[in-house]
Amino acid sequence: MNVNQHTPMASPYGQPQPGYGQPGYAPLDGGYPAPYAPYNGPSSAYQPGAPPQGYSPFTNFPSKAVVANPVSDLSSPLDLGPARGPPTSGTPPVSAPQPYNQYSQGDMQNGPPPLTQAPPRPAASQLYNQGAVNLSGPQPSYPQNYGPQPSMQQVTSQMTGMQITSGAPTPTGPGYAPPRSSQHPASTAYSAAPPPSYTQAPPPASPAQTQPPPPSGPAASQQYYGGPPPPSQQPFNSSLPPTSQRQFPSPGLPPSSSQQTFPPSSYSGPVSPPSQAPAHPVSQPQQPFPPTQPPFSSAPPPVSQPAFAPGPPPPTQGSFPPRAPPPSSQPGSFPPPGPPPTSMPSGQYPGPMPPQQQPPPSQPHPYQSGPPPIRTQMPPTSMAQSNHLPPGSQGPPGPPGPMQQPPSQPGMQGGYPPQQNGAFGQGRGPQPGYAGPYPGQPNYGAPAPAPAPGPAAQKRLDPDAIPSPIQVIEDDRAKCTEPFTTGVRGQVPPLVTTNFQAKDQGNASPRFVRCTAYNVPCTADMAKQSQVPLAAVIKPLATLPPDETPPYLVDHGEAGPVRCNRCKAYMCPYMQFIEGGRRFQCGFCSCVTEVPPHYFQHLDHTGKRVDCYDRPELSLGSYEFVATVDYCKNNKIPQPPAFIFLIDVSYNAVKSGMVNIVCQELKTLLDYLPRENPEMDSVVRVGFVTYNKVLHFYNVKASLAQPQMLVVSDVSDMFVPLLDGFLVNVNESRLVIESLLDQIPEMFADTRETETVFGPVIQAGLEALKAADCSGKLFVFHTSLPIAEAPGKLKNREDKKLVGTDKEKSLFQPQVGFYNTLAKECVAQGCCVDLFLFPNQYVDVATLGVVPVSTGGSIYKYTYFQAQSDTERFLNDLRRDVQKLVGFDAVMRVRTSTGIRATDFFGSFFMSNTTDVELAGLDCDKAITVEFKHDDKLSEETGALMQCAVLYTSCSGQRRLRVHNMAVNCCSQLADLYRNCETDTIINFFSKYAFRGLLNNPTKAVRDTLINQCAQILACYRKNCASPSSAGQLILPECMKLLPVYLNCVLKSDVLMPGADVSLDDRAYLRQLISGMDVTESHIFFYPRLLPLTKLESGSLPLAVRDSEERLSKGGVYLLETGLHLFLWVGASVQQELLLNIFGTQSFSQIDPSLTSLPVLDNPFSQRLRDIIESFRAQRSRYMKLMVVKQEDKAELIFRHFLVEDKSASGGASYVDFLCHMHKEIRQLLS
């Protein structure tokens, strides 16, 4: 299966792979082969796709694929391959291979790769260098690691065992520990995996499908791809290493197979290096992804192929050697570039691919690094498949990496990318990369080094050897050079961290919809077996970058949008017109519906409507309909929405300065109310309320000389005291409003009222909207627990003693039922509530947040708000919140094709039935996660369709329907599923699922559930998709190799594992915050971005480093971004020049830790740094306050909390530990 898939996918790669693959596979079977296979697989798979058309060789692929299968991990890519395959392959039959290559290259590498890649590399390399520097640090450690390894092995006997046996097999053992190629192979697998993904899209689906049978082969390849093997590989290596394997690695081939693989890997290493190298180049240019792409293009791997071919033929070794040669050749070229870095990336797909095309040059570099590569290669092999995390091995690998590839180190950093390549790198990339990789992730590198340095030592996993998020991100970036087109069903889009352009060709852009899996299992059984959640994260009103066209507005006239008669799906590209265009058949329910006369159009000879491309709803994935009056509440065209500002004026609010700030800001902010046409004034009306124990409404009618205040003290039964004059047009009432805003702070300056109400405040806003018969948004600025006598009165129930008990869940539940009822009423009226909290103590966010969360609103929390330091953050949040595009009174419905069904929804909304998601307000930052379940079988031909229709009132008061269509493939092979997953989305789903689960389950149960499910996913993969190998080997699917690290971040979050200093409010706040996050936000939230700032260059960001204290250099300055916080960490022995540049001070001790913004200094570094900070802030929906953290300062504790790969103070496991734990779980499941 995998094979098939792979093949398709691989087609590009395939060619190269084929050779390798087959040969390799065969041999690999033992262990190495697999790895190779993966490579081959993927590549071959791709080629196959192509091949079928022309390549006879491809035919082999299948077999290769089969072989690969063992390696399998990467299989997922294959799926993609298939999908793409059709198109490409279809056309380019014979030549296909080349075409593919070209295509693939074209897509991936083609244009960009070569050129860009080359240049980038340097940069990258530099970056890497930095990294390298760091790495260097690590390296030393590596050796140690090795030392430890043994212990590790011992310790994690399992691991070791794993490795040894299985791991030893190829993947881990070989690759990692001993840089053996065998593991590398694994890595190759990874690389392969990557390719798949890349290729996937392109790869003719058919081929993929067909090939699937040979699963093994493809699977392997896929695995490679998916596996982003590198990381996993590393792990493997490490893991392997633990056992003798690790040692083996060094030794070369302890376990016969594994060892062999190793050697092979090493062989391949050489080979791979080249490929990797290329990749790197590519990747660097583009960054992570590019490389991968390159692979595709490279896939043409002609080059690589050769390498592979050689590799393959001879089992691993054979292949290796061959590869080696190529590598060598490549290396030659590569060396210059900075093989290390490149190698890493190249290691994976890119590696191979690039090599061929651009590669040559780039590759060389990698290759150079390559030398070490050999080892990398090793990893690739098994690695790929296993991604595995050779827990133990990693550790070792790292060191080795460094050791071996000192040069690579730089590469290492760069290396990350390599990992991807790794897969490809099978041969080469790996090797070079490995070196790099090790540092980075790099299994490969790691492995190799490990062995070398100290087979002896390491007991621990080398952090560098385990899958690195940074590496994956970089690889993906490098891979992504072309706009992402959505026309092909089942493609996995670039990662959220990648800058790409999306082109809507029939499916919704990933900016609107992201799925956990782009290949959905055909049957419920499969889905259940895999445990991979089927979900989509939908962000219906997402803001698109300027270079992408917003959804077109379609008006079907008075009759309203054309819809299926039965399931009411809206007209979309999936509707099949029949009978000359007189009817259409619904793609969702197959019902045949008459085309209304006004909508009739003739069909062309292909059965498409002649006007297909004139009509967005027939050719695009996302578009909007103008809704007719039938779609309006009460059959009345809605009124323009209104914004109501409700300001707490109790003592605390006034004293903290909040009241004054809000009032001052509103004066200007009101000019920026949302509008659709920037030329026009906003039609949004505004109203003002202040409150403490009683509510004050204001009449700001334009005709008044002075505003009038209406006090409502009867809070038990809220009502709105006035109608006319409460909601006004800003321009008309400007003077009165300004007068009011001037007077509010004065009026309450001497207030002594400390009690507040809350329920009535929302009721007031709600009633006001009801009275005005419009929808709208409430902005509530609130300070304290509402203890005044009124509906919704709360008491302080913060009880830390409950934390950790079964009753803990009650703390997340609302204290009183009042707010649930209120929320329901709000939703019915289209009243969205945004809550700005300024608490000085417990305010019970869990309860206060009920209404905002249920109405699609947001909560902003400024604990211990101080005007001086928090104003900027608050104002920026407020500005953005007020200005952002928002829809009101929205109803979202997700329709699916027969066979699956949306069963569960997560996010900020309310549901009164099981299908309609009701959102009083829906803004451009809100995402809704939808879970799907099977209720029948799906067919591979038709795939699974999803249509998400959101009916809403725009900010101009127009009723509209926004429709997003999404089609994904269906697969009958698990490997396809694993090859076409998106880990970030899965994490998004898991976190929302878990956080919601907190309401009803003890925290521990929630955590265990998460771990279990994750283990099951991986175990299922291991069992069904990975090549048979020792149970001690941890094998991760390429696409999911980061699953453990991310999951660990989720588990360690404040919500699930609170530290002693985390308040209940904070937890509740985060819990609610996550519910509305899209994938981008959740990703950065769980795995913060950590940038070293030692050198800044315009145009590109420094390469991020992993979130671990080990990565911090005392002499450096780092920027850490979580989406909510921004830290500037300053090392204790930072260079004076940096200090001068950044702070304008001479010494470390002069830095003011209370800084919230950097001084404006006239030097490029300062300029650039501030630009970077600004750009980060601009990317996030919430303003991040900058905190300057000095090393060894108190505040560092907070900062360390976000170094998520480390052990957390509250007991959260470090990445390495968690990986071991996960491995254990998996093993238990498997046994």
């Binding site: 009038q708 209406l710 009502f719």
Partner: protein, 807 residues
């Protein structure tokens, strides 16, 4: 037997200047039975009873139905018309010197009568006289002696007014309660009236403003910049405590005890501020008042939260100025349509209740609303607050339900078609009219206490008052009107406010009163003068007893038929509030017949022999018109109108009330000077101009010929100047009436055949109707198209029944 004590002039001056003599306590003892037992004969012998009556009314504001009282209970009941009086507590007495000290009270706990001219004083002994110490004179009375009497012992001061020096000066409180659910035009007019009224208020008076529509807004006055108001939902009733909390008036309420010395109340708060301070502010606030902005869909009435608003107004005053004179002036432009006190739903298709609905018990909101307003009225009256209602709308506004508010508190009820009429504007202006001293002609928070000598007890009162439930020896078990008490609270008084007080002679037949004995009654009215002073007016009056069996003639001669008519009318109206109309009429008829039987001069079964003495001659006619009056007839009147008419009837003095019962008709013609003519259709002649005053309307009717002349424009011609004068004369007279009347009557100028002439035609005695017009002389009068009986027929019938032996 009469001892007079005269306080020397010097002494009086000293007392007036507040100086207190330090003389020893002087005690005056009087027999307990004596304090209200007057001398045997009137001090001043009257030539005739009419003169006597007029003099008494002039001096004391009292008119009795009988001026000589039958001396036994049995005989009294046979008099048909009870011994009763119309009492006008604040009758204007510019000549009355305010006495600057406090009254001397009978010290017997059950008496507590005020020292008065009827007292027998043993001033020689000053100390212990007979057995019991009754009056303990304060030190200031040390100099009391025969030649040095205090004013209260002088016969001409049977009515005397004391100014209480103790206690703080009370501010006057005016709380405007303004409906905003009305047409802009009306609202504008109302706003202007209100703004004008500010200038009429004394600068220290406190004013407050509450507006209502769908919501109730209590405006905070005197704030800078932003104007603030507290808003309440119109559908919810709040008690005083809740209100106090919601308004942030957390100061403890002033003392709850009643009596002339309430604890120091806060002199102002955010909602009630002195006019001088917030004059401009309030003027602006009123100027900015907008029509209730809530949309009123077609077919709906605006939602008007009158009941809640009034409740809030009452509650606000209750918790800030208890027992202080305050007026809640309610201006409404329509019926309450929501919340407590709603009288009609907001669906226009459901009309407001009519008499028909009431009879069918089909007015679903009435009982509840009435109850609501009643409880408000009781709360207000308990605190001495007045509720005025100014209802200006073409349709009914729920006066029926709300009537108890003004009725219990002595407030005004004004009904007009629109706030934009002079009827309202001038009436409202007249509320603030002032007397010679520049004080408002209104008094606040008054209590009236009646003390009687022991042969007579008080049965009850009918008028704008509520019972204070004060039991005492002079309270009769027999209740008439508001009875069972000897004290009533009258929160709002003006010089014409008149109560009907009914008495019962309790002297048993077998305990004859000595010849020439007198029964005495003392009215003690404590009130808050418009100047803020607390005052006590004491009126002491006495009438001779007579044995009905032997002196029936003198009793008959002392009959005051006007007073009797009004007293009976008040009784009838009082009954009509609770009984079916026909029952009341039957009762009234029976009383009349019995009176005729008792005092008529006739042969049995010979109607033609019936003669009535002069003192009774007009009485049947009054009854005739009363039967036809809107006070008892609801036909052609809405429930609101009936309530309005009854309200006015129940509070005005005798003269006004008589006009209400039997309108006055003047004729103007070339035949002579204006003359009063019979209220009869025969008075309607073509060459006459008639001026009819029904109290509620002033109508000028031009006879057919006159109307033609006027149409022809003769009045424009110099040679017909006399005609012009003729036309002008009734107009001038009408203006005069209009200017003195409160509330302003409706002014109608009509002519023969004019539609408005119906007002005249409905009032006159239908001596000529379409049924009999040809049987009477052709030359005079105008036939009335009615089936009502005429006075002649009525009288014939009456005679027949009176002489019938079967009766």
């Amino acid at each position: 037997m009469l001892f007079c004590i005269v306080v020397s002039r010097e002494e009086q001056r000293r007392q007036q200047s507040g100086a207190v003599s330090s003389g020893a306590n002087s005690t005056l003892q009087i027999l307990p039975t004596v304090c209200l037992t007057p001398p045997v004969s009137p001090c001043v012998a009257m030539a005739t009873f009419p003169e006597y009556i007029a003099q008494n009314e002039e001096r004391d504001g009292v008119r009795f139905s009988w001026n000589v009282w039958p001396s036994s209970r049995l005989e009294a009941t046979r008099m048909v018309v009870p011994v009763a009086s119309l009492f006008t507590p604040l009758r204007e007495r510019p000549d009355l010197p305010p006495i600057q000290y406090e009254p001397v009270l009978c010290s017997r706990a059950t008496c507590r009568a005020v020292l008065n001219p009827l007292c027998q004083v043993d001033y020689r002994a000053k100390l212990q006289m007979l057995t019991v110490v009754l009056f303990q004179f304060p030190p200031s009375y040390a100099g009391i002696s025969e030649v040095n009497q205090p004013a209260e012992l002088l016969p001409q001061f049977s009515t005397i007014e004391y100014v209480v020096q103790r206690g703080p000066q009370m501010p006057l409180v005016f709380l405007y309660l303004v409906d905003t659910c009305m047409e802009d035009e009306d609202l504008q007019a109302l706003k202007e009236s209100l703004q004008m009224s500010l200038s009429l208020l004394p600068p220290t008076a406190l004013v407050g403003l509450i507006t209502f529509g769908r919501m109730v807004q209590v405006h905070e006055l005197g704030c800078e910049g932003i104007s603030k108001s507290y808003v309440f939902r119109g559908t919810k009733d709040l008690n005083a405590k809740q209100l106090q909390e919601m308004l942030g008036l957390t100061k403890p309420a002033a003392n709850q005890g009643r009596g002339p010395q309430p604890a120091q109340p806060p002199l102002s708060n955010r909602f009630l501020q002195p006019v001088q301070k917030i004059d401009m502010n309030l003027t602006d606030l009123l100027g900015e008042l907008q029509r209730d902005p809530w949309p009123v869909t077609q077919g709906k009435r605006p939602l008007r939260s009158l009941g809640a608003a009034m409740s809030i107004a009452v509650g606000l005053l209750e918790c800030t100025f208890p027992n202080t004179g305050a007026r809640v002036m309610t201006f409404i432009g329509g019926p309450a349509t929501q919340g407590p006190g709603m009288v009609v739903g907001d669906e226009l298709k459901t009309p407001i209740r009519s008499w028909h609905d009431l009879e069918k018990d089909n007015a679903k909101f009435m009982k509840k609303a009435t109850k609501h307003y009643e409880s408000l009225a009781n709360r207000a009256s308990a605190n001495g607050h007045i509720i005025d209602i100014y209802a200006c709308a073409l349709d009914q506004t729920g006066l029926l339900e709300m009537k108890c508010c003004p009725n219990y508190t002595g407030g005004y009820m004004v009904m007009a078609d629109s706030f934009n009429t002079s009827l309202f504007k001038q009436t409202f202006q007249r509320v603030f009219s002032k007397d010679d001293q520049g004080s408002f002609k209104m008094a606040f928070a008054a209590t009236l206490e009646v003390k009687t000598s022991r042969e007579i007890k008080v049965s009850g009162a009918i008028g704008p008052c509520v019972s204070l439930n004060a039991k005492g020896p002079c309270v009769s078990e027999n209740e008439i009107g508001t009875g069972g008490t000897c004290q009533w609270k009258i929160c709002g008084l003006d010089p014409s406010t008149t109560l009907a007080l009914y008495f019962e002679v309790v002297n048993q037949h077998n305990a004859p009163i000595p010849q020439g004995g007198r029964g005495a009654i003392q009215f003690v009215t404590q009130y808050q003068h418009a100047s803020g002073q607390r005052r006590i007016r004491v009126t002491t009056t006495a009438r001779n007893w007579a044995d009905a069996q032997t002196q029936i003639q003198s009793i008959a001669a002392s009959f005051d038929q006007e007073a009797a008519a009004i007293l009976m009318a008040r009784l009838a109206v009082f009954r009509a509030e609770t009984e079916e109309g026909p029952d009341v009429l039957r009762w009234l008829d029976r009383q009349l017949i019995r009176l005729c039987q008792k005092f008529g001069d006739y042969h049995k079964d010979d109607p033609n022999s019936f003669r009535f003495s002069e003192t009774f001659s007009l009485y049947p006619q009054f009854m005739f018109h009363l039967r036809r009056s809107p006070f008892l007839q609801v036909f052609n009147n809405s429930p609101d109108e009936s309530s309005y008419y009854r309200h006015q009837f129940n509070r005005h003095d005798l003269t006004q009330a008589l006009i209400m019962i039997q309108p006055v008709l003047y004729a103007y013609s070339f035949n002579g000077p204006p003359e009063p003519v019979l209220l009869d259709s025969s008075s309607i002649l073509p060459d006459r101009i008639l001026l009819m005053d029904t109290f509620f309307q002033i109508l000028i009717y031009h006879g057919e010929t006159v109307a033609q002349w006027r149409k022809a424009g003769y009045q424009e011609m110099p040679e017909y100047e006399n005609f012009r004068h003729l036309l002008q004369a009734p107009v001038d007279d009408a203006q005069e009436l209009l200017h003195t009347r409160f509330p302003m009557p409706r002014y109608i100028d009509t002519e023969h055949g004019g539609s408005q002439a119906r007002f005249l035609l409905s009032k006159v005695n239908p001596s000529q109707t379409h049924n009999n017009m040809y049987t009477w002389g052709q030359e005079s009068g105008a036939p009335i198209l009615t089936d009502d009986v005429s006075l002649q027929v009525f009288m014939d019938h009456l005679k027949k029944l009176a002489v019938s032996s079967a009766a």
